[in-house]
């Protein structure tokens, strides 16, 4: 076997069709008029990004002094894969029926989960995917989980209203969905929730989870959440985390909020 087909995990490069060819594809727009100068400018830019032999395979005049490019180049940088660390939600994922079994055996009382898309966010697609009976992509939502009482408050729920509801229903966990992330509005809103819970003295008494296409566990933890769930998360991920956490934190026989 040829040695070049072996990957060196301490010096990884993008792969096109040959090990270490570094091939990458880029698509972007420059606010300059279409023409040879535009293509040259794009190549210079891509070279500065660390891609050698940039090749403009396509460019298009988009009108109004804008040009679109598709460019290939060979990446000169490498990455040491062996040194990569990622914070992930650390839990063994249980399927829906296993969750029900887990509640019966370990928690022995209904688990109350309160969810909403909060702040100004009007999108319910995320919270619905996790909570609604039907779920998403063949993964049933929390409403279908035996032993879990799932309350979906919908969209544009102010943080204060959600906290009041959490106290009213004595929620074990608050699940917040954020879809709109323009100008980092979700960060402000998520931070505000933590601050309000802390001010009410509730932060330690409740499990706080957020999710959304731009959310990662790492961001969530930085903001003071217990967990964050990004794309490709389903109800079973959220449920497994919350249920395990209830046991881990000794919340089984907790007092009312």
């Amino acid at each position: 076997m040829n040695a070049t087909t072996q990957v060196d995990l301490t010096q990884v490069k993008p792969y096109g069709d040959t090990m270490n060819d570094g091939m990458m594809e880029l698509a972007f727009t420059l606010p300059v008029p279409y023409g040879e100068e535009a293509s040259e400018a794009a190549k210079v830019l891509v070279r500065q990004m660390g891609l050698d032999e940039p090749s403009v395979v396509y460019s298009k005049d988009m009108g109004g002094g804008f040009t679109f490019f598709v460019i290939y180049g060979k990446c000169q940088h490498t990455v040491d894969y062996t040194s990569i660390k990622v914070t992930k939600v650390d839990v063994d994922v249980m399927e829906r029926l296993e969750c029900a079994e887990y509640i019966k055996e370990n928690i022995k009382r209904p688990v109350i989960l309160l969810g909403a898309s909060t702040g100004t966010d009007a999108h319910t697609v995320g919270i619905d995917a996790i909570m609604n009976m039907k779920g998403f992509h063949g993964h049933y939502g929390l409403e279908r989980y035996e032993g879990i009482e799932a309350i979906n408050m919908g969209s544009q729920v102010p943080n204060e209203v959600m906290i009041a509801k959490a106290i009213e229903v004595n929620a074990d966990a608050i699940l917040i969905s954020q879809t709109v992330t323009q100008k980092d509005i979700h960060i402000q809103n998520l931070t505000n929730m933590v601050e309000l819970l802390e001010a009410e003295g509730l932060r330690d008494k409740i499990i706080l989870v957020c999710g959304g296409p731009r959310i990662s566990h790492e961001i969530a933890q930085e903001l003071g959440y217990d967990a964050g769930f990004g794309s490709h998360s389903y109800a079973e991920h959220v449920a497994s985390f919350v249920l395990t956490e209830i046991v881990k934190r000794g919340m089984i026989n907790r007092k009312s909020l």
């Binding site: 727009t29 009108g63 100004t120 609604n132 992509h137 544009q156």
Partner: protein
């Protein structure tokens, strides 16, 4: 109905339609007895009242709040303004300014006869209608001179949050081939019980629907339309708590398309159902009068509910939206009933079902400029597959003869569209529309095949649902969660406090004149 390629039974279509007619008719009896704060503010806007007071409260709100606080909104703002005009000799805007300055309480003036108040206000009303008509004529003149794009119209959104940046993006999109520009509204406006004032430069996920923003974008689109030799239509949202007010602004500033749905606000924004149903009536009368195409929001059912299982709820809601539009005197050519391409891409034969449903909508609403919405729910961030999903959507659209094609973006689920995303999506649609232009004329479907049977099934289910709704009443159907799987109580949600029973002398001078198509 022309000969159905889907072998739909015209008797079932008639049965569903007449059932929807009775459903809307029953609600209309409720609507006719009520008015709302937003309906009354709309009358003020149409009478030329605009601007804000020193704490940024719009003047229409200032007046309506004063009347409401005095407990006499049931008489209607038209009476109070007509009366104030008689007693003060001032014009509506001057009256509004005096009220805002705390110099006038219009409910404390001596009360003239209702007939005299109405007579006093009619010239202002006629003048307002004349301005709106001038805008409609201007549109017709553009269509007659520079013309328009072929259907399906390419419909794209701009959503930078800054109206001036939106202009740059909108003009670029028009140069690339777009026919309709929708300016996305900032999140949360739907729940504001007032219309913000002035241009927006810092919105989240969009700009406010304000009269100034409408004006700025209208001007930009007229300019670019003249440049590219094609009338570019402008779309915004006549929805939320200020549904009719925004329709009035749209009429005045010559919007061409407005999102407007009899049920959407109830289901997806938790606005009180009584409030929305009364509001939608006046908004639709305005829309009908000035030739705006309305877009209903049935596509949204399929983002919350399953697109395969809930297809009949879309059709049932289209029938209901159609019948509410009939009651507001809207022509079929203005009924942009909505539906969407939202089936799970893993569904075997999903394309056949989508095609079947799209052709079904076309056959059942033959003259309606149907609004077809792109895949969103199953867009993943895999932009390459997303581009293919959009291509299938485009193919169905040209095949089934849709009218308003909201273009899917390969970056759906990633970010609001970048300039190149919009270019790629326009290129995708233009290619497919041209390459398959007359496909629909060429193809017929196998009798009793998957495509025919799917549409027949959905129609039968919709008819059944409509008859259930008719029996239950629309209010209690919504309470039970039959649309979009969302339950809303009759007295719940936002804005109920803004609903008011009319007294026997109430009048809204615009309704009879607009319904009569006053020239």
């Amino acid at each position: 109905m022309a000969k159905s390629k889907l072998n739909l039974d015209p008797k079932i279509v008639d049965s569903a339609r007449s059932s929807a007619g009775r459903i809307a008719g029953n609600v209309q009896e409720f609507i006719d007895r009520h008015t709302t704060v937003s309906t009354e503010r709309t009358i003020l806007r149409l009478l030329g009242v605009d601007g804000v007071d020193d704490v940024e409260t719009p003047l229409p709100n200032v007046i309506v709040d004063q009347i409401k606080d005095a407990g006499v909104l049931s008489r209607g703002v038209a009476y109070w303004i007509g009366n104030a005009m008689i007693k003060t000799g001032l014009e509506p805007q001057e009256i509004a300014e005096k009220v805002a300055a705390g110099e006038l309480e219009i409910t404390k003036l001596e009360m003239a006869d209702v007939k005299d108040a109405e007579e006093k206000i009619i010239p202002v009303v006629m003048d307002s209608l004349k301005k709106i008509r001038a805008q409609t004529e201007k549109r017709n003149e553009y269509l007659a001179t520079i013309g328009e794009g072929k259907r399906p119209y390419l419909y794209v959104i701009v959503a930078t949050g800054n109206i001036y940046e939106d202009v740059v993006q909108a003009q670029a999109a028009a140069r690339q081939g777009a026919d309709i520009i929708a300016v996305i509204r900032t999140t949360a406006q739907s729940l504001l019980d007032y219309v913000p004032y002035g241009p927006t430069t810092e919105g989240f996920g969009g700009t406010y629907a304000t009269q100034e923003n409408f004006r700025i974008m209208r001007k930009a689109l007229d300019e670019i339309g003249e440049e590219v030799g094609r009338y570019i239509r402008l779309c915004n949202y006549s929805s939320g708590m200020c549904m009719p007010e925004i329709a009035a602004m749209g009429a005045i500033e010559r919007l061409d398309v407005m999102l407007n749905d009899a049920l959407y606000g109830i289901l997806f924004r938790d606005i009180n159902m009584q409030r929305t149903l009364v509001d939608q009536y006046f908004s639709r009368i305005i829309i009908g009068y000035c030739d705006i195409i309305f877009n209903s929001g049935e596509d949204n059912y399929l983002t919350t509910d399953d697109a395969y299982e809930a297809a009949h709820t879309v059709l049932a809601s289209q029938f209901i939206n159609e019948q509410f539009a009939v009651l507001a005197n809207i022509k079929e050519e203005q009924m942009g009933l909505g539906h969407a391409f939202e089936m799970d891409p893993n569904t075997e034969n999903g394309f056949l079902y989508e095609l079947s449903q799209a052709i079904m909508a076309r056959e059942i609403f033959p003259k309606a400029p149907l609004k077809y919405m792109p895949p969103t729910k199953f867009m993943t961030g895999n932009i390459f597959k997303g581009h293919i999903q959009d291509a299938l959507f485009n193919l169905i659209s040209v095949w089934s003869g849709q009218s308003l094609q909201l273009l899917g973006m390969l970056t759906e689920a990633v970010h609001t569209p970048h300039m190149q995303d919009r270019y790629l999506s326009i290129e995708n649609a233009s290619y497919i529309f041209s390459n398959a232009r007359d496909l629909g004329e060429e193809v017929e479907f196998k009798a009793g095949g998957i495509i025919q049977e799917r549409a027949q099934f959905v129609l039968r289910e919709a008819d059944k649902l409509l008859h259930e709704i008719e029996k239950e009443g629309l209010f209690s159907t919504i309470e039970q969660g039959k649309f979009g799987g969302v339950k809303r109580p009759r007295d719940g949600g936002k804005g109920l406090e803004g609903v008011c029973v009319k007294d026997e002398y109430y009048f809204n001078p615009f309704i009879p004149l607009m319904m009569g198509g006053t020239k």
